[in-house]
Symmetry: C2
Subunit: 182 residues, 2 copies
């Protein structure tokens, strides 16, 4: 059994459903890992995994994610959780108030520790930032993000709808394919 290490209930809810759909069961392991300050989520995930691997003799999966707004040079990026808790959705919308370039992306890196080896899987979902928040689903900046080719924000989607197109779905699919190939 692989332990999914996170304190974020929303992440676990999405990832466990995604992996279960591929026949992979994970167990929620609620542990706050040290997250390093870095510009790329790969670096954050790699560092957390290194620290945990020094202590843990079991297989585990971590999920580091971020919301990157092109016009803001990638802000809030790896610090999305902190930015959400401080200036919030209103703050990000205000930074974009006179900005027409609305492109953004969500990124997830899933880091898998299996039998002492480390593997990384990256999922990206591109889209645009809305002018106002819509919907109460998902978590974080989901209510202001519409994936390319969609009309609803992540916040307006059901778990199933979001899981059909999200960055986390893409990373989880790669994890599942890798595990099936072993």
């Amino acid at each position: 059994m692989i332990r999914f290490v996170t304190t974020n209930a929303g992440k676990y809810r999405e990832a466990s459903a995604l992996l279960a759909a591929h026949g992979i069961e994970v167990e929620h392991f609620e542990l706050l890992l040290p997250e390093v300050q870095a510009d790329a989520i790969e670096d954050v995930a790699a560092y957390s995994m290194k620290v945990l691997a020094e202590e843990a003799d079991f297989d585990f999966l971590v999920d580091d994610s971020g919301f990157f707004v092109d016009a803001l040079k990638g802000f809030p990026g790896v610090y999305s959780s902190y930015v959400f808790r401080t200036i919030g959705i209103a703050g990000v919308l205000s930074l974009l108030e006179v900005v027409d370039k609305r492109q953004a992306r969500f990124e997830t890196v899933m880091g898998l520790r299996l039998g002492g080896e480390t593997h990384m899987f990256r999922g990206v979902c591109r889209g645009t930032v809305t002018r106002e928040a819509r919907g109460l689903g998902g978590f974080g900046f989901d209510p202001i993000f519409v994936p390319d080719g969609q009309e609803k924000t992540f916040g307006e989607m059901s778990l199933e709808e979001k899981n059909a197109v999200s960055h986390r779905a893409s990373a989880a699919r790669q994890v599942a394919e890798f595990l099936k190939g072993r």
Copy 2:
């Protein structure tokens, strides 16, 4: 000789002058320490020190600082450097555009590792956020911060003027007093 560990030339410039004024010489040790994601700079400093202490058998000093805006729940806080590099001064001013509550503070925590023991010293400088950037001195958010009781921004001050009133000066003074007491 104590090594001052930072990749930030501005920090070293200020801190070395401050400590020299108290008769304490430090050597610039340019090393990028892992900085953990945390809300309080004490936690960031403590983590960096722990990691370095595992490797280093010499005495060292680290300086973790942040700019905390009251109306933004402390944002940008410990992530000031990242926020400066992304949304920048213009971004922070725009978040405060319709905000009348302008109180903010700079905080520095200096962490001293001496003979295998760890000591922390905290300096705070309270003030207000200006409506526009003024001055080219200092670094980071200095051009939009006026310390209480002053008229110039940190950006408009000379190194000596800033060092007379800054958060870093307060922390350095405590470090110096501690070292003299040994």
